[in-house]
């Protein structure tokens, strides 16, 4: 089945220790998104890639970076995680063009910062 895969499902890191979350897709979609969702809050878009073009949200902290080496993979790098970065991180994909297209979500990675 075509899908969006996130690894790992649970990630524990230490305060200040860099961490990378991974997302891959078999849908061949040209847009990939990263959302942060804290407890009882709405998913909040951090950034997205349209093909290789990176689009950062204005309020995304510099601590968060992303890489997309090819169509299938996208990584979220947190350079120096703080306690406030503990959250569920959701990856999503869509096919761009002609207004809004459905976004397909991965299962998420729950990040714990000790």
């Amino acid at each position: 089945d075509a899908m969006v895969i996130q690894n790992p499902r649970y990630q524990v890191t230490q305060f200040g220790k860099p961490v990378t979350l991974s997302c891959s897709q078999t849908l061949n979609h040209n847009v990939m998104y990263w959302y942060q969702q804290k407890s009882s809050q709405a998913p909040k878009l951090l950034f997205h890639y349209y093909d290789k073009d990176f689009n950062n949200e204005a309020d995304t902290p510099d601590n968060f970076q992303s890489r997309r080496p090819n169509t299938s993979f996208c990584f979220l790098d947190i350079r120096s995680p703080g306690l406030g970065d503990a959250a569920m991180y959701l990856c999503a994909t869509s096919r761009a063009g002609g207004g809004h297209n459905e976004q397909f979500f991965g299962p998420g990675t729950r990040l714990t910062v000790l």
């Binding site: 969006v4 998104y33 009882s40 709405a42 909040k44 878009l45 689009n55 809004h100 979500f105």
Partner: protein
């Protein structure tokens, strides 16, 4: 400011009762509104979009521009409808559209 508001964190109803999940939005342009759903232990997925004007799993939602609302309704709730429901607004974000989510409403359908 672009914003989506879901005033209820939890909505508990009995099986067979009508359901209305409220959603209000703030957007200066012409909005595209969606409902996404997350069942227990499953990923977030699209339920319906206002442009399609369709009924999915018995749910409907009508965009009311005058009241800036997009409430989700179902006449008779089923236990399998229990899930987290997110209202979302599509906003132009450069080359693509991006979603702005509400905080979600947990629907619990009691037997």
């Amino acid at each position: 400011a672009q914003r989506v508001t879901q005033p209820e964190k939890l909505l508990s109803v009995f099986k067979g009762a009508p359901v209305e999940l409220k959603c209000n939005y703030s957007y200066s342009g012409s909005p595209e509104l969606f409902w996404y759903v997350q069942y227990s232990r499953q990923r977030l997925q699209l339920l319906l979009r206002h442009i399609s004007r369709e009924s999915i799993k018995g749910f409907t939602a009508d965009l009311n521009k005058g009241e800036t609302s997009f409430h989700l309704k179902k006449p008779f709730a089923q236990e399998e409808d229990s899930a987290m429901y997110y209202c979302a607004l599509s906003a132009y974000g450069g080359a693509t559209n991006k979603l702005i989510f509400g905080t979600g409403t947990l629907l619990a359908v009691q037997p």
